[in-house]
């Protein structure tokens, strides 16, 4: 089942199966918009808003100290997440099935002391973090899931 999940991630074709398989875990990226409710609870959000454009929908949850935005494609799949606040959120539930490959990539990333931006790329997901102590920011996206015509810089 796990292998099936990973293989499916490589092809948009299998997305429907991925959604079904992974909906039990607190995960988001690459999954259906319904996982958003789970995250809203996990993040103890006090406020949520939704913005819709022709190319995607943005669901934002805000606690007093952290805002998380999830970017959902017209087909209903979360293709990107952005956040800002006092800390970086726990990425494990947010990255879902991408979390382990991301963690492996983090472990292999050489530290760059003195930098205030980090970009960790693995086969299927890109995670970036930046900012400063009172306002840390970041985003994660699965390049293969980004709808046509959407620029990664829009995930912010």
């Amino acid at each position: 089942m796990k292998t099936g999940k990973i293989l499916c991630l490589l092809t948009g074709f299998c997305l429907a199966l991925t959604i079904i398989v992974a909906s039990q875990v607190h995960a988001t990226l690459g999954e259906s918009a319904s996982s958003i409710t789970v995250n809203k609870k996990a993040l103890s959000a006090v406020k949520s808003t939704t913005r819709t454009s022709s190319r995607y929908t943005v669901h934002e949850f805000q606690s007093e100290t952290l805002a998380v935005r999830e970017y959902v494609s017209p087909s209903g799949v979360v293709f990107g997440i952005a956040w800002n606040g006092l800390s970086h959120p726990d990425l494990t539930p947010l990255l879902g099935s991408y979390a382990s490959e991301h963690q492996k990539a983090v472990n292999q990333t050489r530290r760059q002391p003195g930098r205030r931006h980090v970009k960790v790329k693995s086969s299927n997901v890109v995670v970036e973090k930046w900012g400063h102590m009172r306002n840390l920011q970041g985003r994660a996206y699965a390049p293969a899931l980004i709808p046509q015509g959407v620029n990664t810089d829009e995930i912010k």
Binding site: E64, L86, S87, G114, R116, H117, V118, W130
Partner: protein
């Protein structure tokens, strides 16, 4: 025939002569026996570490003599004074004293007395070299004698100490302990007989901390443009249970003092209790993806010679409170050790008083404070008084801000750069507002706007903890090697930008050239022209290169400084 007979006689004669020559040496003779051995030189004297070759001469029953140095057995009566090669007769002096050197062959032996004397003092080295201390502090000096035998010895208590300017510092004549009297410089000397050694002691005001960018206060395995200071940590209220720690990263981009717990094991600090009764624990995520995790404890923090009494600091401990899996989930990738982090601690002295502020007072899910109890840690709120504090903001006199003063470095780089962190603004004669060309407030998170090359960077900040100038630009980047992704213009670009309306100049050099002189001779560490893209639009990170050649004033949130304004504000 007659001729043949003559030749035969000559040959036989030669043979007999050569055989009798050997017989004189005691070899192959049956008649002469060894009767005595003489050891030379007769009364030798050498210094420790030196060697002496001895010779043995045998006298035989037929009154002949022979050099028998290599056929006797050599010994030394006191091998703590000198040792000797049992076959070679080469003695090595070990320590002052006398020893009998004996050569033995069968029942016959001969001897002499070797006198070993102490080596002579050639020079004295006084350490630490060129130290700087704050007014009110003391400095213990050490004198190391260098001797003729290449040995060294600590002669601190046997040397005589002096200070050339006793109005600056006095020194105990037999202790080497210097006591500051006033700011200034004095020559401290240690003398023994006719030999002396010296160094210069500088006494700086109580509110000044030396900064070395990749200098003596940094660990050797550092990275380019790393500013280091030292701080003293004491048990609350104690003046003796203290520890001075260097290789502390000076970071104007964060708030609060954080030190690895492994360096403070011998100092008792008070754990701060969370609102729910657990141990208050702190998590700080940094923008480079690293983090610091560990308990909040109360300590006296001494900066220069000023004390921030009983303030919360973070004890960095990546194993504290719960399982490593939970810590990773709560706090990302926490630094494990000074060597993995690249520093012993971080002195966060930026624009704000606490590391979090009001957000952590009301929202338990702030991601920064946790309450650890048993083996679990849960999200919690933390009142302002319990949050990790910017130590400068907790000083008695100089709490309103500080000045970071660093020298300019030559184009191309420098090995290190020495400057000062001056505490307080306008509170003393050495921290008045002078020579500034820009003064402006930041927003409530420390940001301001930079305009450069037609671009607007609305998220701009000043940060000594960033080691370059990071901003997205069309400047050419290196595509390979260690400089890949850094700016690599063919020639150094002299640029200008407007920061909150004030123009400032800066330079971006070729990172390939820069890293070449970092990794290879001349092994430079400090570079004023190091830059790279930030990686997120709208950001301009004015890192350490901006500070080189400037005095940057930081007014802490809520304080007002005449000539600059109300904090959070910057001036330079």
């Amino acid at each position: 025939m007659k001729l043949n007979k003559l030749l035969f006689f000559i040959l036989i004669s030669l043979l007999v002569v050569s055989c009798s020559g050997g017989g004189g040496g005691g070899v192959g003779t049956t008649s002469a026996t060894l009767s005595s051995i003489a050891v030379t030189p007769l009364t030798p004297g050498i210094k420790t570490g030196e060697t002496q070759q001895f010779a043995a001469t045998g006298t035989y029953s037929d009154s002949t003599t022979q050099d028998i140095t290599t056929s006797v057995t050599w010994s030394s009566s006191d091998t703590t004074v000198a040792t000797i090669g049992s076959l070679s007769g080469l003695a090595t002096a070990v320590a002052a004293g006398t020893t009998t050197i004996r050569a033995t062959s069968g029942s016959i032996s001969g001897s002499t007395t070797l006198t070993v004397t102490s080596p002579t003092l050639i020079s004295i080295a006084v350490t630490p070299a060129i130290p700087m201390i704050n007014l009110g502090a003391t400095q213990q000096f050490v004198a190391t004698g260098n001797y003729s035998d290449s040995s060294t010895e600590d002669i601190t208590t046997s040397a005589t100490w002096s200070s050339s300017n006793t109005t600056v510092a006095t020194i105990g004549s037999s202790s080497g302990l210097a006591d500051s009297v006033a700011t200034g410089t004095t020559t401290v000397a240690a003398t023994s007989g006719s030999i002396s050694g010296s160094t210069t002691l500088t006494v700086i005001p109580v509110n000044v901390l030396p900064i070395t960018v990749n200098g003596s206060l940094c660990s050797s395995g550092s990275y380019p443009n790393k500013p280091c200071v030292k701080v003293k940590i004491c048990s609350p209220g104690s003046t003796s249970s203290c520890k001075t720690i260097d290789d502390i990263l000076l970071d104007t981009g964060s708030y609060g003092l954080r030190i690895f717990g492994s360096l403070l094991t011998d100092i008792s600090l008070t754990q701060v209790t969370s609102v729910t009764g657990g141990s208050l624990t702190n998590c700080v995520n940094y923008a480079d993806g690293s983090a610091n995790w560990g308990p909040v404890k109360i300590a006296d923090v001494i900066l220069g010679n000023e004390t921030a009494s009983s303030i919360p600091i973070q004890i960095i401990d990546s194993t504290y409170g719960t399982t490593s899996a939970q810590i990773r989930s709560l706090c990302g990738n926490p630094d494990v050790s000074p060597s993995s982090a690249g520093f012993n601690g971080i002195l966060g002295v930026g624009l704000f008083t606490e590391d979090c502020g009001s957000g952590c007072v009301s929202d338990p899910n702030n991601g920064r404070y946790y309450s650890c109890n048993g083996s679990t840690c849960t999200a919690t709120t933390a009142s302002l008084s319990k949050q990790v504090k910017n130590p400068v903001s907790m000083l008695t006199i100089d709490y309103n801000g500080f000045i970071v003063q660093l020298p300019a470095v030559a184009t191309g780089g420098a090995t290190s750069a020495d400057g000062f962190l001056i505490l307080g603004i306008g509170t003393r004669s050495n921290n008045t507002v002078a020579g500034i060309t820009a003064a402006y407030p930041t927003d409530s998170t420390g940001l301001f706007t930079t305009e450069h090359d037609g671009n607007t960077y609305s998220s701009s900040f000043m940060d000594t903890g960033s080691n370059g100038l990071y901003f997205d630009s069309s400047i050419r980047q290196c595509t390979s090697g260690t400089a890949a992704g850094w700016y690599c213009p063919t020639t150094t670009q002299s640029l200008s930008a407007t920061l909150a309306g004030y123009t400032a100049s800066f330079s971006i050099g070729n990172a390939s050239t820069i890293f070449n002189s970092y990794y290879y001779s001349p092994y430079y560490n400090v570079f004023g022209e190091l830059g790279a893209p930030y990686g997120a639009s709208g950001y301009f990170d004015w890192g350490l290169p901006f500070y080189l050649g400037r005095s940057v004033y930081v007014v802490i949130d809520g304080n007002t400084v005449s000539g600059i304004g109300t904090g959070p504000s910057l001036a330079y």
